[in-house]
Amino acid sequence: MDIRLDGISHSYDDFEVIRDISLTIPKGQIVCIVGPSGCGKSTLLRFIGGLERPNQGRILQLGSPPEGCLNPLTYIFQDFALLPWRSVSGNISLVLEDHGIRGAAAAEIIRDVLARTKLTDFAKALPKQLSGGMKQRVAIARALAVKPAVMLMDEPLSALDSQTRELLMDDLVSLWSRQPFTAVYVTHNLAEAVRLGHRVVVLSRRPGQIREVVDIDKPLAEREFGDSDLDAYQKHLWNLMRDEARAADEELLHV
């Protein structure tokens, strides 16, 4: 299933945040959206998943989601959004219960996704017992449990320290290599974008418009921490963004 954004524009009252964005997210690819703060990248992600409605333009699903898909558009949030009163397996069963999956069928899915995210030993733990990196793994396991067609990742690693971030990037790459998934990955971290993105979309500062789309052909599994060709891409992205970021930083906050 592909996703197409068709002329998306949006403003809150007189405050224009997004201007005429058209974009295709092809199946089996990770599309990273980067941009200075306040450029509307998270808003764009909420439009794609149907949590908010744009003033203008349409979001289209092209083709039908794969067999057995329970929730085609599935988010992974920056702050994990785990229910603190449910254990790790309880948090995953939460999203299965409404689809009538309980008992042995649910246990089988939970076992599978916990194994894929290396969480098998933590099934009974409460979120408060887990580190940030582990919590985000639980959120990834929960997303995998509903067999999404497209994963919508809103700065998923931004709340983590840089070492945990490296570890989780490796995990995401190996998850993708074993079974390619489609994802829209919003981040302000260019290193994450060049490491995980097949395609990087650079947005301008508010109102967000597409400045450039950079395709990175190197296969994900071959990308490594500190690759010189990735560094070149990252440098190119930063050159595109530097002035935008400075101007965005100096803008008065609209509250």
Partner: protein, 265 residues
């Protein structure tokens, strides 16, 4: 060249973190009672100012031995239970709907603000007319008194449920009812339980007021009768029962909190 001065850095952090110390609370009670006992025995507290604690204890024992204690306690506890269960359950339901629906919020918040400051005791005669001099008016007074604080605590608690968790529920396609049951209510539970502490203390206060009219038995009736006779020993015995009731209720809520809110950080 003079010798460099070597000095330990003075500690200036710490504090501002009170810790519970188990026995100090008990010690305060014992010390106060001991002072009262000593004062009344040695005579610098006159018998009219304060009864002798040992006399109060003796009165209490008499009350227990004669079986009157349970004759007073049973109707009081049942009034407390029925009234509080009524008030709290309707209060939680109204509070949750204020937390969830715009119309309920706009319509009921001003009404609750208007009802809250009314001293419920002042309405007792009205309740007697509406619900009769029997148990009905007593249930109504306690229920009404616990209702308003429960509503306010509950809708505050619902408002404070983390919105990102609700967005998460929506993004996974959970039904409205599932979101309310599995995300909103458990998320509001800590606030509802701390509101319950206040509501139940108010229920105990109103118990005495409820038993002012037309009650033969009950802790409140016992205290009022002792008060009108200036029988300070019996008055204090009754007051001690009410305090104990308050301590027990608060301990039970503490126990529920520890059991059900284990997940809190």
């Amino acid at each position: 060249m003079s010798e460099p001065i070597e000095k330990t850095v003075a500690f200036r952090g710490g504090g501002f973190a009170p810790q519970p110390k188990r026995w100090i609370g008990v010690a305060v009670f014992i010390a106060l009672i001991a002072i009262a006992e000593w004062g009344t025995r040695s005579g610098w507290i006159s018998a009219l100012t304060l009864p002798k604690p040992s006399d109060v204890l003796a009165t209490f024992q008499e009350l227990y031995a004669s079986g009157l204690l349970f004759q007073h306690l049973a109707p009081s506890l049942s009034r407390l239970a029925v009234g509080a269960v009524l008030g709290v359950s309707v209060g939680v339901a109204v509070g949750v709907s204020i937390g969830l629906f715009s119309i309920a919020r706009s319509g009921l918040v001003p009404l609750i603000a208007a009802i809250f400051p009314i001293p419920k005791i002042a309405l007792l005669p009205l309740f007697v007319i509406w619900f009769g001099i029997g148990e009905g008016s007593k249930y109504a007074l306690i229920a009404f008194g616990t209702f308003t604080p429960t509503v306010v605590a509950t809708y505050g608690a619902v408002d404070n449920v983390d919105r990102t968790l609700i967005r998460m529920g929506q993004s996974f396609g959970l039904s409205w009812w599932s979101i309310v049951r599995k995300i909103v209510l458990p998320g509001a539970l800590p606030g509802i339980l701390s509101g319950l502490r206040i509501s139940l203390a108010i229920a105990i206060i109103l118990l005495v007021a409820a038993e002012m009219l037309g009650a033969e038995y009950g802790i409140g009736a016992y205290i009022l009768e002792a008060g009108s006779l200036y029988d300070l020993e019996r008055l204090f015995a009754g007051v001690v029962i009410l305090s104990l009731l308050g301590v027990i209720v608060s301990a039970v809520i503490g126990w529920i909190e520890r059991r059900m809110l284990e997940w809190r950080v």
